[in-house]
């Protein structure tokens, strides 16, 4: 695997993000696999430090690497904690021998005004890290060219393209796409790009170690997509036709995607008044016969707990994409966290069947939507997909997504024709909660012929939906709805199965789920390369957890690390409950400061553990 990682250190509103994105897209068109993410994104809107990062590789990647090869520095926030708020400046994350490319202008414009870079102040770290420093007076060049401050990033892209040998035309194509070929903005960017290239060329700058050997792809369909978009697209392909949601980071992209796209397919996007309303809209739409879903995060998920319980007892399919972030309460709203597993599995009052899945990268997000909707309708129960902030909001390059294989299985939802065939003229009566042999009752479409007593009830109810508190009735419905249903679910072959990586003979294991996948997989590879055999079990069905599979894996190990973004070690707790109990074999690797794991963060913890033992 060859590749590099770039950090754009700027200030909200100064264009850093856009330019890095365009560079990433161009690299992808050239055949690279990319991963782009916000490394420092504050939950506020202002002109403060931001960091947007790009990793590119000649093989697929699913997360960030430990350190940065290149830092584009657009102001002093790159190296200094100016506001003295305990911020760790990004320059500390450049690797030894890395590149520091900065705007050497003496004065900067809004929004970077008064954050000019004083290169002499970094002498120490430059020395210590043996950084290769390149200064370009980007701001001044802009001014001279009569351009705007935000295209400084384009100059930087030009310089990097020149030094790392990235095709200029590939980049121009993406600027053209973003701004419209021939538009004024486009032309300004073309000039800026060229000036960056020229500057580097004139200075004779070169980065031979960062040149990737790539084979440009002739539109092989590879996509750049984040987890939210992938889940939203997958939902539409799976037949979701009512989306209801309330904006919340890191789930808003699902709502926005639906706002843009669902109506074309005959669907509706309801921007609800709250998550509580949204969850109930989902139930209502499901009752009408539509496939429906919502997406949310922690605080919004709290507000959905009552509706989830209602879906449970009324046996209404309810799909929720749960995009997790740092908690509790508002917590770290724009940062990484996996502190909602407990609530997804054990939240809501009362005992009812539910299914909780997890995805690990956008391709997975997309394809799992087929199963989510099928499972939700097959078992008529709340069904959740957990994706964490990094996965939800980072852009990954993934192979072309193929909608053609999706199968829409609506379970025991009777089409008007099926309903007529089953009930009409033969004296049989439809009962919403009929006790059937297979333990699942029929659903139907209200508004279609014969469907006149489709009654769902959050009270305990008889087979035909009427309120009942009789112990026999209760027992039967509970047995059907909970015990029998969970048994059926457990046996369903469409429950996403765990995936295993690494050396199956290894005695060091990892168990995890979600966006930790990329970093752990790489960590396992690196450990292997360094002579430490390791393996990784990626859980995809969190509930019901398949205890036998997990037990087999754990039994085959001497030690099992459980990396997760939760101080409460929620995944580990689940494994204890279902598989091992408290066990010295399980070792938590907890990251709860809102920052992403990287392969090295993981491997170093394995090393520490070794040293310790």
């Amino acid at each position: 695997m060859a590749g590099f990682q770039i950090y754009g250190a700027g200030r909200a509103g100064d264009g850093t993000q856009t330019n890095i994105q365009i560079l990433g897209q161009a690299l992808k068109d050239q055949g690279a696999w990319t991963f782009m993410w916000s490394n420092e994104i504050y939950s506020n809107i202002q002109t403060r430090d931001t960091g947007f990062a790009l990793r590119a590789s000649d093989t697929p990647i699913f997360g960030p690497d430990d350190e940065f090869d290149i830092m584009e520095a657009f102001d002093a926030g790159a190296y200094s904690d100016e506001a003295n708020e305990g911020r760790i400046p990004p320059i500390t994350k450049i690797k030894t021998g890395g590149v520091f490319l900065y705007d050497s202008s003496v004065r900067l414009d809004y929004p970077n005004t008064s954050h000019e870079i004083h290169i002499e102040r970094l002498a120490e770290i430059v020395e210590a890290k043996k950084l290769r420093v390149f200064g370009i007076p980007m701001g001044e060049m802009n001014k001279a060219a009569g351009a705007v401050h935000v295209v400084r990033g384009t100059i930087a892209v030009g310089a990097i393209a020149q030094m790392a040998g990235i095709d200029k035309n590939a980049i121009l194509k993406r600027y053209a796409e973003a701004f419209g070929a021939g538009s004024n903005v486009y032309e300004i960017n073309v000039k800026a790009l060229e000036s960056g290239i020229e500057f580097a060329k004139n200075e004779g700058w070169d980065l031979p170690d960062l040149k990737l050997k790539l084979t440009p792809i002739a539109n092989d369909g590879r996509q750049i997509i984040n987890g939210d978009e992938a889940a939203a697209a997958g939902a539409i392909v799976a037949g979701c036709r009512v989306y209801a949601g309330y904006p919340i980071t890191p789930a808003s992209e699902v709502l926005e995607y639906m706002a843009e796209n669902i109506n074309r397919f005959g669907g509706a996007m309801i921007q609800a008044d709250s998550e509580m309303a949204a969850a109930h809209h989902v139930i209502g739409a499901a009752l009408s016969g539509a496939r429906s879903m919502t997406a949310t995060s922690g605080p919004g998920f709290d507000l959905m707990q009552e509706a989830i319980s209602a879906a449970g007892i009324t046996e209404t399919p309810m799909v929720i994409v749960l995009c997790t972030r740092g908690g509790p309460a508002t917590g770290l709203p724009t940062r990484q966290g996996q502190e909602e597993l407990n609530e997804a599995i054990f939240g809501s009052h009362g005992d009812f069947a539910r299914i909780v899945l997890a995805a690990s990268e956008p391709e997975d997000c997309f394809y799992v939507m087929e199963h989510i909707f099928n499972l939700a309708e097959r078992y008529q129960c709340p069904t959740f997909l957990i994706i964490d902030q990094m996965l939800a909001q980072s852009s990954y390059t993934v192979p072309e997504l193929d909608p053609s294989g999706f199968v829409v299985d609506r379970g025991k939802l009777l089409s008007p024709e099926q309903f007529a065939e089953r009930y009409n003229g033969n004296g049989k009566t439809f009962k919403r909660y009929e006790l059937t042999d297979d333990g699942i009752s029929y659903r139907a479409f209200p508004g279609t012929p014969g469907v006149t007593n489709y009654y769902s009830n959050t009270n305990e109810h008889t087979e035909d939906g009427y309120l009942s508190e009789e112990e026999v009735v209760r027992q039967q419905q509970m047995d059907k709805r909970f015990f029998q249903r969970m048994d059926l679910i457990r046996a369903d072959p469409q429950l996403p199965q765990p995936r295993y990586y690494g050396d199956s003979s290894a005695k060091i294991g990892f168990i995890s789920y979600g966006g930790t996948y990329g970093p752990i997989r790489e960590a396992v590879e690196r450990l292997g390369e360094a002579g430490t055999k390791a393996k990784f079990m990626e859980l995809r069905t969190m509930w019901p957890l398949n205890a036998e599979q997990a037990k087999a894996f754990i039994d085959s190990c001497d030690v099992v690390y459980v990396p997760e973004y939760s101080a409460g070690a929620q995944l580990r707790g689940l494994i204890q409950r279902e598989v091992t109990g408290p066990s010295p074999k399980l070792k938590s690797m907890l990251r709860y400061n809102g920052r992403n794991m990287t392969p090295g963060w993981i491997t170093s913890r394995v090393e520490e553990a070794k040293v310790g033992s």
């Binding site: 369909g221 750049i224 397919f265 209502g284």
Partner: protein, 334 residues
């Protein structure tokens, strides 16, 4: 007939009656149920609305047992949350006739968020509230509509503070239809509900439906008397209210400008209605009748680009038939 046989008109009351009654003898809710059934029969038998297209919802409360009293497509949900479910149904399939039932606690206390937003969004449903000033099902605590001074188990010294006035809020929010009925006048109630259902947009029918078990006025006990208390001390027919206001509040010149009868469809109805409510409240009364009817605003379904002809619930979701669209969709993310 098996209920799932294609419904054949005319339907009889028994065809749309549930399995058992869940209310105290004498409860006002029986009157509401009876009116509702009559409206459903008339819709099906006279207006050719298929019974299949009826969808009743409710929250939790005595009043919310209404779907248990019926036999139609229905959902009995969570306390205070039937409106957002109703929105899901109405958007999922706009051809359904959605009747939502609730209590004054259900809708005006815990359900306030949804009440106001459903009105403002103008979702095409009819909301029927059985307003009894108490939380009946939880045994009689004061509800938001309890009048000042009402003694209940949660207000042992008498309720302090103002009641929620749902009519005022509905008018201010811009409901398409706003009316107050009383459970003991069946024909008027049938007429009101009928008009409500036939109004395109959000319709509120707040019905005084006395709780004979927990609504206790000093010196009054039991079913009959509490109805009398309402009649004698609490309600004011909109005709009389208008008449009274015309005569007492306005100058002669002003009066000349005012129509002799209250007209809920006039462009001034919203302001007149609010004014009537205020005037009535000055003498401790609540107006009954139809205050407002204005279906000029687009409904929520219209705003979302769906309709009875284009219901999301019946959209074609086969992958085959959508494949070109799906490929387009994905091609945009590269």
């Amino acid at each position: 007939m098996a209920a799932s046989d294609i419904s054949i008109t005319p339907i009889k009351r028994a065809d749309i009656t549930g399995e058992s009654a869940w209310w105290c003898v004498g409860c006002g809710d029986f009157g509401v149920n009876s009116a509702v059934q009559q409206v459903i029969m008339s819709l099906v038998n006279e207006s050719n609305v298929p019974l299949e297209n009826m969808f009743a919802l409710s929250g939790i409360g005595c009043s919310s047992k209404e779907p248990d009293m019926l036999r139609v497509n229905a959902y009995q949900g969570q306390h205070g949350r039937s409106l957002p479910v109703a929105i899901g149904v109405a958007i999922g399939n706009p051809s359904l006739k959605v009747l939502d039932f609730g209590g004054d606690g259900d809708t005006y206390a815990i359900g306030m968020e949804h009440f106001m937003h459903s009105i403002i969004r103008n979702v095409n449903i009819t909301l029927i509230i059985m307003n009894n000033q108490v939380y009946g099902l939880t045994k009689g605590q004061a509800s938001p509509t309890a009048h000042g001074g009402l003694t209940t188990i949660s207000t042992p010294e008498g309720k302090k503070g103002r009641p929620v006035n749902p009519l005022r809020l509905a008018i201010a929010g811009g409901a398409a239809f706003v009316a107050r009925g009383v459970s003991w006048q069946r024909n008027e109630l049938v007429d009101i509900i009928h008009q409500a259902v036939n109004t395109n947009g959000f319709s509120l029918v707040d019905v005084f439906s006395p709780c004979v078990t927990y609504h206790r006025e000093p010196g009054i006990r039991g079913s009959g008397p509490i109805f009398d208390w309402y009649r004698e001390n609490y309600v004011l027919d909109i005709k009389d209210a208008w008449e009274g206001m015309r005569n007492q509040v306005f100058t002669d010149e002003e009066r000349a400008q005012l129509p002799a009868e209250y007209d809920p469809t006039s462009p001034e109805a919203a302001l007149n209605g609010l004014r009537l409510i205020s005037e009535a409240s000055k003498i401790g009364r609540e107006v009954t009748g139809i205050l407002l009817k204005d279906d000029s605003q687009p409904t929520m379904a219209e705003n979302l680009g769906v309709s009875a002809d284009r219901p999301p619930a019946l959209a074609d979701v086969s992958v085959e038939n959508n494949i070109a669209g799906y490929h387009d969709l994905l091609a945009s993310m590269r």
